[in-house]
């Protein structure tokens, strides 16, 4: 190969790079900063829930003159916490970060199919993030109508809302560019011999995710344009006739419907929850197969399950809207589809559990996080079932129970999977390994604390405590018996923050002087480990384009005795 290496200038190499690996790291780092920021917003809110009306320590002076979080500030922080966590944190890390870095390597491609579009995708995302952050400095603060931005409240809200909508349009554009890239890369750039059923499960999850982003996001873009028009041009897409605001009829043409926003929003947002969870399942599958030294149990059924799940996720969205006055016919329809969609999730989770059976498990840090994911996602999913039944949802809707449900899925679920991914692929990116002792402290501490944060939410929710209350329910009679949990959850959340410090320190010292390791530290079969050096070559990834002869998880192919490896890399030629 005649690779003439002309040295690239700094800005081309690290800032406006078209190399999928650099872009993946840019995505991951940006997303992690946003995750931390979103977490801090929530800590401030949790303090207020535990000690309503008391001065916030450390940052109080920044929030208001008397050092407290105002009710309006609480609404702003809540809306931005949700937005930042979902759209600027988890998705960019899971898809933009891991997807970008790992997917081309796993399919044996030199880069994404459209490297320049890939770069554009990151920078559009960045602009969207800047918009969202800038809204904190607007005269009346950020958007404050929840991450769902329900009309008409959002239409009459403060100017930060417009920034939110513009930022959202950027984010939608970015994920559109990204998903086109992912799909084309998987279809066109697979290495020779890498058939569909030989793809690592992670690639499958990213592939389905990309389709969800591609098809579900545009309706929200349409809705965002409508809402911008409502706010800026005085139209009434989401404003009904005769709407009273502050005791007066709003002076608009009227004739619109707030439900239209909800439909367009949830048409995106239900598929979006699968965007949050599918890549996590993919990471967990990789880590489990590698650390049990066994093939995944039921690989094929897992693949069919996520394809089915992808389709179904387009026909369940109004289970978020049971209480909007929906009639029984459609309620029955959405209950049925919701129950059906839980089946593939159960299949995947069961397959992952069964994969553990009889494995000689290596309890590395990534494996611990992956093992933590399984029961946590299980709790999150099971608590979703009552929410999918209209009669139960009438009681549970908009209570802390819902908050508990989806946080079990995304926090100890997805976020743990993302940690597993970071610990697992860190040696790939840097050639160094993260510290195990710090990693394990991080895991056990986080595991205990995160359950302390979210488990009591079920108790409060079942007792009828509503979400989005500034004082955590202390002025409500029915909330009194469960009020003491507020302080407990806040302390657990502070504990959770404490254990994240171990992670941050671990990242820094491992980067600086982590233990140097071989290219394939985990003895993995998939191409990114087996066929490429760690870190992979800039731009081209592989020294030689690999051809593939094996399925993704051929572990324990022989006894592993006599110094032989116990696995067969995907690209190892069968000699016959």
């Amino acid at each position: 190969m005649t690779d003439h290496h002309h040295e690239e200038p700094f800005w081309r190499k690290y800032i406006f790079s078209v190399d999928h690996k650099v872009i993946g790291i840019q995505y991951a780092v940006t997303a992690m900063i946003f995750l931390l920021f979103g977490f801090c917003l929530m800590l401030i809110m949790r303090w207020n829930l535990a000690y309503p009306g008391e001065v916030i320590p450390i940052v109080g002076k920044l929030l208001s003159e008397d050092g407290m979080l105002t009710p309006d500030g609480y609404n702003s922080f809540g809306a931005m916490h949700g937005t930042i966590m979902v759209f600027l944190g988890v998705v960019p890390l899971a898809v933009g970060g891991f997807g970008n870095y790992v997917l081309p390597l796993q399919v044996g491609a030199p880069d994404m199919a459209f490297p320049k579009i890939n770069m554009a995708s990151y920078w559009t995302f960045f602009l969207g993030g800047v918009c969202m952050l800038a809204s904190f400095f607007m005269p009346q603060g950020t958007a404050s109508s929840g991450w769902t931005m329900y009309a008409p409240l959002s239409v009459i809200a403060t100017t930060g809302e417009t920034m939110w909508l513009v930022g959202m349009v950027f984010l939608i554009t970015s994920s559109l560019l990204g998903s086109v890239n992912f799909i084309v890369t998987v279809i066109q750039l697979r290495a020779n011999g890498l058939t569909w059923m030989r793809l690592p499960f992670f690639v499958w999850t990213q592939f389905v995710t990309a389709f969800l982003l591609l098809l579900a996001f545009p309706p929200l873009e349409a809705a965002a344009v409508f809402q911008i028009m409502d706010r800026v041009a005085g139209t009434s897409f989401f404003l009904p006739s005769g709407l009273y605001v502050g005791g007066e009829v709003l002076n608009v043409a009227g004739g619109g419907t707030p439900l239209l926003w909800q439909h367009l929003f949830w048409f995106l947002a239900h598929p979006e929850v699968y965007v949050l969870i599918l890549p996590a399942m993919g990471i967990v599958a990789e880590v489990i197969a590698n650390n049990t030294r066994k093939p995944l149990w039921g690989y094929r059924s897992m693949v069919y399950s996520i394809i089915f799940l992808g389709f179904m996720s387009f026909v369940v969205w109004a289970h978020h809207m049971f209480l909007t006055g929906m009639g029984t016919t459609m309620a029955a329809f959405f209950q049925t589809t919701t129950m059906i969609i839980s089946i593939p999730s159960v299949i995947i989770l069961s397959a992952l559990f069964i994969s553990l059976w009889g494995g000689s498990i290596r309890f590395t840090t990534p494996m611990l996080f992956a093992l933590g994911f399984l029961p946590m996602f299980g709790i999150g999913g099971l608590t979703g079932l009552p929410l999918g039944l209209a009669s139960a949802d009438i009681h549970l809707h908009d209570t802390y129970y819902v908050i508990g449900h989806f946080h079990y899925v995304v926090a100890p679920g997805t976020i743990f999977a993302l940690f597993a991914g970071i610990y697992y692929w860190f040696p790939k990116v840097t050639g160094k390994r993260m510290n195990e002792a710090l990693g394990k402290t991080h895991f056990y501490g986080s595991f205990i604390c995160i359950n302390g944060v979210f488990m009591p939410m079920f108790i409060q929710g079942l007792a009828g405590v509503s979400r989005r209350l500034y004082d955590g329910g202390s002025t409500y009679l029915h909330a009194q018996p469960v009020l003491q949990w507020n302080e407990f959850m806040t302390i657990a959340a502070l504990g959770l923050f404490f254990f994240q410090i171990f992670f941050i320190i671990n990242l820094i010292i491992s980067l600086a002087k982590g233990e140097k390791v071989s290219s394939n530290v985990w003895d993995a079969t998939t191409l990114e480990w087996a066929a490429a050096p760690s870190p992979p070559l800039p731009h081209v990834n592989f020294e030689k384009v690999p051809d593939v002869y094996h399925g993704p998880y051929e572990y324990s192919t022989n006894s592993g005795g006599n110094g032989q490896p116990d696995f067969t890399p995907q690209h190892k030629k069968i000699n016959s």
């Binding site: 190969m1 690779d3 491609a109 030199p110 880069d111 994404m112 199919a113 459209f114 490297p115 559109l176 998903s179 086109v180 890239n181 799909i183 084309v184 279809i187 066109q188 750039l189 591609l214 098809l215 579900a216 996001f217 545009p218 309706p219 873009e221 349409a222 809705a223 344009v225 409508f226 028009m229 041009a233 005085g234 139209t235 009434s236 897409f237 006739s241 608009v252 043409a253 004739g255 619109g256 419907t257 239209l260 367009l264 048409f267 081209v540 990834n541 592989f542 384009v545």
Partner: protein, 197 residues
């Protein structure tokens, strides 16, 4: 090692990368305009009053613009056919006409539709009919502008590629054409739903 299949099709799919890419992009556009249309229907069904398009809007101008876009669709496909017959001159001519027609569409739209409407006080906030009219045709017009920029590039500076990579350049014209036809199809649906019904 370069990204493969940028020009030649991959054997098992029979397609080059950008072709799949543009169809995926169009798929998302279908969902965008699908959402816009379904919102239109919902708002109209739920409204207590609505305008009749053919009375409120200028049908002759709309018809004229429909024809303009259809002709431009023909010329852009002719531009592609010319390149496949190695005729750069003809390509330049057809692509040039396509761009002119796109400009005509926009100018007519702004001078004879938007401005008079606004002059008469028919702004988006007057009634959801006008809100829908301005948003749907406005977003369509933005797509026309996008197409114009792309086509103008391929007609002007982009043509240099023909000398070095004729096949890739022909592919680009195909892609640009696919997008332009899509914009035409959107208009084919917009015109009757907004102007006539």
């Amino acid at each position: 090692m370069e990204v493969p299949y940028t020009v030649k099709p991959r054997p098992d799919t029979g397609l080059y990368n950008a072709k799949i890419g543009v169809w995926l992009f169009l798929a998302s556009e279908v969902m965008l305009f699908g959402a816009l249309f379904s919102s239109y229907i919902l708002l109209r069904m739920g409204a207590s009053s609505w305008y009749v398009g053919s009375e409120a809007l200028n049908v002759p101008i709309g018809t004229f613009n429909t024809m303009v876009l259809i002709v431009s669709s023909v010329t852009v496909v002719m531009a592609w056919a010319s390149l496949r017959m190695d005729d750069l001159k003809k390509y330049k001519m057809y692509m040039g006409i396509t761009i002119l027609l796109g400009l005509v569409f926009l100018v007519v739209k702004i001078l004879f539709e938007y401005l008079p409407k606004i002059d008469h006080g028919h702004v988006p906030s007057e009634h959801n009919f006008y809100a829908i009219y301005f948003v749907l045709t406005g977003l369509h017009a933005l797509h026309v502008i996008g197409g114009l920029v792309l086509n103008a590039y391929l007609w002007g500076p982009g043509t240099k590629m023909w000398e070095t990579e004729p096949e890739q350049f022909t592919n680009r014209i195909e892609i640009a054409g696919l997008y332009w036809h899509f914009v035409d199809i959107v208009w084919i649906f917009l015109f009757p739903t907004i102007y006539l019904l």
